[in-house]
Assembly symmetry: C2
Homo-oligomer: 106 residues x 2
């Protein structure tokens, strides 16, 4: 689950797509296709991955499919994972301290 989110975020094209939806939410496939240097099929595939990871939700309006950014999975990555490593500057510094002390005693 969170695995899918990390994997989806690994590709720069997909992050670019999230950027586009961040700028303007609810865009169609055709609209997104025009903004990227890629065929419609490539974009569609990436959108499918994003949708599978829950990073994008969709809604049909007639023959169009609107794509919306869903911040929830990223919030989970933030809360359960990234913050865990990004915040402990203190422990990192003690680690560095220990590191340097060992360095000294050589």
């Amino acid at each position: 689950m969170i695995d899918d989110v990390f994997k989806a975020l690994a590709d720069p094209t997909r992050r670019r797509l999230l950027d586009e939806l961040f700028e303007e939410d609810g865009q169609t496939l055709s609209a997104l296709e025009q903004r990227l240097p890629m065929s419609r099929f490539g974009v569609a595939k990436h959108l499918k991955v994003l949708e599978g990871a829950g990073l994008v939700t969709t809604r049909r309006r007639g023959r169009e499919k609107l794509h919306f950014l869903n911040p929830v999975p990223i919030r989970e990555v933030h809360d359960r994972w990234v913050s865990k490593y990004a915040e402990p500057w203190a422990s990192a510094l003690t680690g560095l301290k220990r590191h340097l002390e060992e360095e000294d005693q050589r």
Copy 2:
């Protein structure tokens, strides 16, 4: 650059390695190998990727190589990317509002 970080984080084994180093910093390849269900070579390869992304720094002590977790790249991911999408709950809600309004007028 940030690309390498996202790619490194995409693999569960590598996140597991970060977890192990988070629990106990400065472990050797052999120590990490014993904790993972994988050959030494596999672990070494993953560590190389993590090191390439700057997520792990190393120091040699004799014939051993000590691995240290480096929180800086994750901090960058947090600051420049994740927080951008994880925080704007307000705008997400306005998006949802617009979404539902359009839904109504159908």
